[in-house]
């Protein structure tokens, strides 16, 4: 029902034999589905035959979200131990745990009742319940839980590799990971979570732009950094990871994006002063300049360049990585970058992106130097707008609006 990138074939192409094969597959699929529904309609989530049936069906169809829910209910209805006073300490309920978002009225729904086990309040304050027997049984159940949770993670790996954009698989995996926090001692849970970084690494090698995988990575890192797990910052590692991804593929906008989001915390945690921040900005500008020399047609690079310049200029109420630049420094950064781009135009006169940047920066320069209009044609935003009109006629409507906006700003002496 949602076909992407599948070549069209005529509908009449199916032979009688193929039709029969389809009917056989349908029959098997429906038998499996019926067997599961039979048990779930009786709330038989502790029936040991139900869990393997969900594995079978999910391998055929990981988009069948209800079956993932059935699987969760099997786990919380007996396969996993019930977190109790004897279970391991957990400092907080995870933000994505069902208890934080459970619909209060869901209990009346027959098929969505039961479900989550909230962290026991007693486990928030103590990891021990007193007797040796309790501790031993906690250790046993921990081993069993650890094995089940790891096996659940392993179960989804081939499915993720085959269906890397299936929301439900990613969601199930996150749920399993949150169970690890609830049920395993912290070092063991951290270990499980750290293993996930290897998976996401693999997924991003397969598809460098998969936004599910990038979002998952950010989620992993944020949780790993929390007191529930490692309790320390991973920002330097993550920043280094974006460098690696960019070195491997300059047009990976997802990596550039992540880099742009990490640098605030990176500089804060480094305790960077104004000088260190300016030096950091220089390094980043050099990096993107190098990349632009190789790939001047790449939108990703231009977005990153414009992002860095937005940090130089700053805008009201928005934090920037270099908050204390003087107007003089801002002007010299802008002039330096405009000069770099104009040099690029010598070799690549017919690419539109440099002109868009020059238009934007020319306007910014005018705002920084009220009253000084500049003598050269490159100081005139309309000069660059004229180039854009020629190179990108598809956006004529946009350029008309930009021209009107420039006229208005001139009339109002904003530029």
């Amino acid at each position: 029902m949602d076909n992407h990138g599948i070549a069209r074939v005529a509908r009449t192409a199916r032979t009688e034999e193929q039709r029969q094969q389809d009917l056989d597959k349908i029959q098997k699929y429906k038998q499996l589905d019926d067997a599961i529904r039979d048990k779930t309609s009786r709330h038989a989530y502790d029936d040991p035959t139900l869990f393997p049936l969900t594995s079978k069906l999910l391998r055929l169809n990981p988009e069948y979200y209800t079956i993932w829910n059935v699987r969760r209910r099997c786990l919380t209805s007996g396969l996993l131990s019930r977190p109790s006073a004897g279970s391991w300490p957990s400092t907080a309920s995870p933000s994505t745990s069902p208890s934080a978002t459970t619909n209060p009225s869901s209990a009346v729904s027959s098929s969505s009742s039961s479900a989550a086990i909230p962290p026991n309040p007693a486990s928030l304050t103590t990891g021990k319940s007193g007797t040796t027997a309790d501790v031993e049984s906690a250790v046993d159940s921990t081993d069993a839980d650890s094995e089940i949770l790891r096996s659940e993670l392993a179960f989804t790996v081939p499915l993720l590799l085959e269906f890397p954009k299936c929301y439900w698989i990613w969601k199930y995996r996150k749920w399993i990971l949150e169970q690890a926090i609830l049920r395993l001692p912290r070092p063991l849970a951290s270990n499980v979570w750290e293993g996930e970084l290897a998976l996401v690494y693999k997924m991003l090698v397969k598809d460098r732009r998969n936004f599910h995988a990038w979002g998952y990575r950010r989620y992993l890192v944020a949780r790993l950094e929390s007191a529930d797990l490692l309790g320390r910052s991973l920002v330097e590692d993550e920043f280094a990871y974006t460098t690696k991804m960019i070195r491997g593929d300059l047009s990976n906008f997802s990596a550039w994006h992540n880099r742009s989001r990490l640098m605030f915390r990176l500089l804060d945690e480094r305790g960077a002063d104004d000088e260190a921040r300016a030096a950091f900005l220089d390094t980043e500008l050099n990096l993107v300049q190098e990349a632009l020399n190789v790939g001047p047609e790449d939108q990703s690079l231009w977005y990153y360049h414009r992002y860095l310049i937005s940090q130089v200029i700053g805008s009201k109420g928005m934090p920037t990585i270099t908050p204390n630049l003087t107007d003089g420094r801002k002007i010299s950064y802008l002039e330096q970058e405009c000069e770099f781009i104009r040099d690029l135009l010598q070799d690549f006169p017919d690419i539109k992106w440099p002109y868009e940047a020059l238009l934007e920066y020319a306007l910014a320069l005018r705002k920084l130097r009220p009253g000084i209009k500049g003598e050269e044609q490159e100081d005139d935003p309309n000069f660059w707008l004229g180039k854009l009109r020629k190179l990108d006629a598809m956006q004529t409507g946009r350029w008309n609006d930009v021209e009107r906006d420039i006229e208005r700003q001139l009339a109002d002496s904003i530029i």
Binding site: N103, W214, S300
Partner: protein, 329 residues
């Protein structure tokens, strides 16, 4: 494929074929794919029915059967699953509300369902009152898609007061990026699909003032590729569904004229299957009802003749939204 190369410029919208294609969707029970996609059944009905309304064949699917099917997916909690026996989830609950809005049948919720208050409470119960976010169901996973879905359906039901709209707005703002776009969650890369959900959510909340419109529209118009199609993110391939996500966003902020509309119309028309009906992600590929709807909504926003007007916020015909929200033309 060879045929596509000589497609005439005067290619027309294959209305009759599209109507037949949508009508045929529920008759394909001898195809394995029909069963594999059961988890999309209620969405599929919404996609197909909305497409039929745009094609001016609103009665091409029987109204009574439509209502019966929708109500058969409802749980006692008020939420809806994808099909009978499937668990309740925000995505299907929103589709159910949209379908009932299309066929003017909210009263059936009172007569034969749980009543609209319970439907609204199901969705409102999925809001995290601290963060303003919405989960899809009791198992977590937060996404601006669910936040938008809730605001869409709750406003249609006139039940928006059940949720904290201001907190939801704050969360959407936290998802904004420097490029003017929005991601799935704070910190995530801008994506045209999420931009649609965020811009529409802010529009329903009457907070468009929080959008950096020129910057966002610049980014959105740069989604158009030389072949006329639109992509969803920088350096990605074109796809007909972005004719909706990108264009509806541009429409909500009054800037559809920033792209080349003729070239986009041409791209969508070339993605039709003019023999068996339906529209695919790009020319020559397999059609599906999702791309069929979003091709048609794109054409509708572009003012293509012979199609009813689509509302860019609700993804329902304008006439439906005006009737439900009680506005007059």
């Amino acid at each position: 494929m060879a045929d596509l190369k000589r497609l005439p410029d005067e290619l027309q919208l294959a209305t009759a074929q599209h109507v037949r294609y949508i009508q045929s969707l529920d008759t394909r029970k001898d195809e394995y794919d029909y069963w594999l996609t059961e988890h999309l059944r209620l969405n599929g009905l919404y996609w197909g029915l909305t497409a039929l309304h745009l094609l001016r064949h609103p009665n091409a699917l029987p109204r009574e059967e439509t209502i019966n099917f929708v109500l058969s997916c409802q749980h006692e909690s008020g939420g809806f699953g994808a099909a009978p026996g499937h668990d309740a989830h925000m995505l299907y609950t929103v589709s159910a509300v949209q379908i009932l809005a299309l066929v003017d049948a909210f009263d059936e919720l009172e007569k034969r369902g749980t009543g609209k208050l319970k439907v609204a409470q199901f969705m409102a119960g999925l809001q995290d009152r601290e963060k303003g976010t919405f989960a899809g169901d009791e198992w977590g996973e937060e996404d601006t898609r669910f936040l938008y879905g809730a605001l869409n359906a709750l406003s249609l039901l006139d039940m928006l007061h059940l949720v904290d709209v201001d907190k939801a707005v704050n969360h959407v703002v936290a998802c904004a990026n420097f490029d003017g776009g929005y991601g799935v969650n704070p910190g995530d890369e801008s994506h045209s699909g999420q931009i649609f959900t965020c811009v529409a959510a802010l529009t329903i909340a009457k907070r468009q003032d929080l959008i950096d419109k020129d910057r966002l529209a610049g980014w959105l118009s740069e989604r158009q590729l030389p072949n006329g199609g639109l992509n969803g993110r920088p350096e990605k391939k074109e796809d007909v569904c972005y004719s909706w996500w990108v264009l509806s966003s541009l429409s909500m902020i009054g800037r559809t004229h920033w792209i080349d509309r003729e070239k986009l119309i041409d791209f969508i028309l070339r993605s039709q299957d003019t023999v068996d009906g339906g529209i695919s992600d790009r020319p020559g590929n397999m059609v599906d009802v999702w791309h069929t709807l979003f091709g048609l909504t794109g054409l509708s926003l572009l003012g293509y003749p012979g199609l009813d007007e689509i509302d860019p916020v609700y993804c329902l015909p304008k006439s439906t939204v005006e009737r439900v929200l009680g506005k007059s033309m």
